[in-house]
């Protein structure tokens, strides 16, 4: 019996592997009709990947010189591996922070030069989009979408505590959050008021609202223990300690598991304030259209009301690796995608444009009930760019670690931020 089974297994394996290995061995650079193949890697998945593919299909129809093949590659470590080996994609989608960090290692093609040579109209980008994708005054990627964050709130929950207007300062927000937060008989949080979740917004908007920053204006001097950061964390901890550090962590963990699923805590009516992106409105429509929600700007503080509407500023950008083989085709695709191709893609994916000619586009504004206020925030151009020191990847993961210490009550905000600052400064040397 044993020998037979081995034989059968081997034969099965053989036939299987030969059937499938054939396709993988030879990749022609030309399509059957003689078009140059351009490979494009993006990190989107699921539905968002489908929207990328739709955009690619539109490009492929629009001309007959190039043929773009798209791949969803969510693990960005793969980008680096591919760029280091001989299999670099011709175009990659990445965030503006990654553009900076890749370019620190000299991995990307100079898009300013390419654009100038091809008569690209750089005026479609406002200052934030230009600087966010530039190193030493040269652009290394063309931004496709912008990300700013605003405050979604559950109107029913707000009304239930006798309020009608969303808060404009963090102090007001804290008060409302306390009123709305409910705890069941065993001490578990049922409804969360303070926007401790998602974690990325807690690290950014919730800090920025107090005037906190992770880096100074120059983008490279760490400012972990600045006053705004400490104030933000103190209020954050005041809330956590009131309802129990463990309980809050558990609630946040559940929120994380369910994020953007039908069980998302906001859709379930268990979250009053949520700092999130414009796509969140699409998600609400898809998963629970009954949620009665409003959108407002991220609050400032009593001392600094002008911080109202403060948010991160990020892009999804398109770049060409220096080791890419099809740079002409890559440029053709990118310059099409950020101009003609952008609108249809943005309509599908529910993201904000980076291209300023689309800021007032009536179709875009009408497509998503949150867009008007997000677009307004985008136009004020007071978004905050991520730190851009050459150790920023390590810095970000250090920030995560020290925020954990604060959230879990292992360290006080002052202790944690001082130590973080010292670590960051030692890396800068």
């Amino acid at each position: 019996m044993t020998r037979k089974t081995i034989a059968i297994l081997l034969v099965l394996l053989c036939s299987l592997s030969f059937v499938f290995a054939q396709g993988g061995s030879e990749e022609a650079n030309l399509t059957e009709d003689g078009r140059q193949i351009v490979t494009y890697w993006y990190y989107h998945k699921g539905n968002e990947a489908t929207y990328q593919e739709n955009a690619i299909a539109r490009f492929n129809e629009s001309q007959d010189k190039y043929f773009v093949q798209g791949f969803s590659v969510p693990d960005k470590q793969k980008y680096l591996v591919a760029m280091a080996s001989d299999e670099s994609p011709d175009v990659i989608a990445l965030t503006n922070a990654e553009v900076i960090s890749y370019q620190t290692s000299g991995l990307l093609e100079d898009m300013s030069t390419m654009g100038e040579a091809n008569g690209f109209d750089f005026s479609i980008y406002d200052a934030p989009a230009l600087t966010a994708n530039s190193v030493d005054g040269r652009m290394y990627a063309f931004p496709l979408t912008s990300v700013v964050i605003q405050m979604f709130y559950n109107i029913d929950l707000l009304n239930s505590i006798g309020e009608t207007e969303p808060p404009t300062t963090m102090e007001e927000l804290f008060e409302m959050a306390e009123k709305v937060t409910t705890v069941d008989e065993s001490g578990n949080i049922d409804i969360l008021g303070y926007p401790l979740f998602p974690l990325a917004s807690a690290r950014q908007e919730l800090i920025y609202a107090f005037g906190g920053r992770w880096a100074a204006e120059d983008g490279v001097t760490p400012t972990a223990n600045c006053e705004g950061n400490l104030k933000s964390l103190e209020m954050n901890m005041a809330f956590r300690e009131k309802y129990g550090v463990e309980q809050v962590q558990r609630f946040v963990a559940t929120g994380n598991t369910n994020r953007y699923t039908p069980q998302d805590i906001f859709f379930a009516g268990k979250q009053l304030f949520r700092f999130d992106g414009p796509w969140f409105a699409n998600q609400i429509r898809e998963y629970n259209p009954d949620v009665n929600f409003g959108v407002a700007m991220v609050p400032g503080t009593e001392a600094n009301p002008e911080l109202l509407g403060v948010s991160r500023y990020e892009n999804t950008s398109l770049a060409i690796p220096v080791v890419a083989k099809e740079k002409e085709g890559a440029y053709a695709f990118i310059s099409w995608f950020v101009t003609e191709g952008a609108k249809d893609f943005l309509l599908e994916i529910g993201s904000l444009p980076a291209n300023n000619t689309l800021f007032d586009d009536p179709d875009l504004l009408a497509s998503n009930e949150a867009f008007p206020s997000f677009m307004a925030a985008l136009k004020t151009a007071n978004g905050i760019e991520a730190p851009r020191m050459d150790y920023s990847a390590e810095y970000t993961s250090l920030i995560d670690e020290y925020l954990d210490y604060v959230y879990n009550g292992t360290m006080t905000p002052q202790e944690a931020m001082d130590e973080l600052q010292a670590q960051a400064e030692s890396m800068a040397k």
Partner: protein, 281 residues
């Protein structure tokens, strides 16, 4: 002591033992149960509190969706291809080296045996970066060569298993063949190999499982979507924000199934392999 009391106590401890054993069985099987049942649940069903073990309605669509979401059959073909070549490599080289250590009296044998043990101690992290650079220098990153080539020099652990087994074969058999005029290689082919079949099977399944499940090497070396393996493909279900747990579990079942089937066919060889290598090294 009254003999009856003794009997009752014995029986009670017997029952307690059974309860303990069965409880442990449930604990050890629960991850499998989770995996299989979740793969047949709808997304809503997977997110209920308290958890229902069985799906309220059995759905098979997760399997279809899973293989559609990522090119799963292709990954399976890639994985099978890598596994097959790795298997070939180990099965050719391991008995060869083991034979030289167990049945040939030569001066380097002692050194080689010592080095075999020593290499098992070298952490892979030490060789990882230089090997990466070497393969890179030859333009072979992104191909299967870095995944398969190490199997063509023989894994130290497998050589040790094989050597132990060969030592157990009486030398008189080989001497008889020598008198009949067979040279070393003929003796190896006609006597060594056929007599080692059980150990070969053991090495074969170990290699199969190791190559089938390998994660780190594909993670480092494989970048193109066409060449991904199942272990990498499985990770594609882990989104940054949302995890399609039902699809993921369906994909995991497909990934795990060949290994489990293999285990049940060759259960005995596993036990033998572990026992010989673990005890006598």
């Amino acid at each position: 002591m009254d003999i009856n009391v003794f009997k009752i106590r014995r029986r009670a401890s017997h029952v307690a033992f059974y309860i303990l054993a069965i409880a442990l069985f449930i604990v050890f099987l629960s991850p499998f149960i989770v995996m299989v049942t979740t793969s047949f649940k709808t997304l809503d069903d997977a997110f209920t509190v308290p958890v229902k073990i069985l799906p309220r309605e059995w759905t098979f669509s997760n399997y279809g969706d899973a293989v559609e979401r990522v090119p799963y059959w292709r990954y399976m073909g890639n994985t099978a291809y890598i596994t097959l070549l790795s298997l070939m490599g180990e099965l050719i080289v391991v008995p060869l080296v083991a034979y030289s250590l167990a049945k040939i009296r030569w001066r380097g044998a002692g050194i080689v045996s010592g080095l075999l043990m020593a290499t098992m101690m070298i952490p892979y992290t030490v060789t990882m970066i230089p090997l990466y650079r070497t393969w890179h220098a030859f333009g072979l990153t992104g191909t299967y060569v870095p995944l398969i080539a190490p199997h063509f020099v023989g894994h130290a652990y497998y050589i040790i298993i094989m050597r132990q087994f060969m030592k157990g074969i009486p030398n008189s058999l080989f001497e008889a063949a020598k008198i009949d005029g067979a040279n070393e290689f003929q003796r190896y082919i006609t006597l060594g190999i056929p007599l080692c079949k059980p150990a070969l099977t053991t090495v074969g399944i170990y290699t199969f499982i190791a190559a089938w499940s390998d994660y780190l090497a594909p993670l480092i070396y494989i970048s193109s979507k066409d060449r991904m393996t199942l272990s990498l493909g499985l990770q594609q279900f882990l989104n940054e924000f949302t995890v399609d747990w039902t699809l993921l579990m369906a994909a995991a079942v497909i990934f795990v199934l060949p290994v489990v089937v293999l285990f049940f066919i060759f259960q005995r060889n596993f036990v033998e392999g572990v026992a010989t290598s673990g005890l006598k090294a």
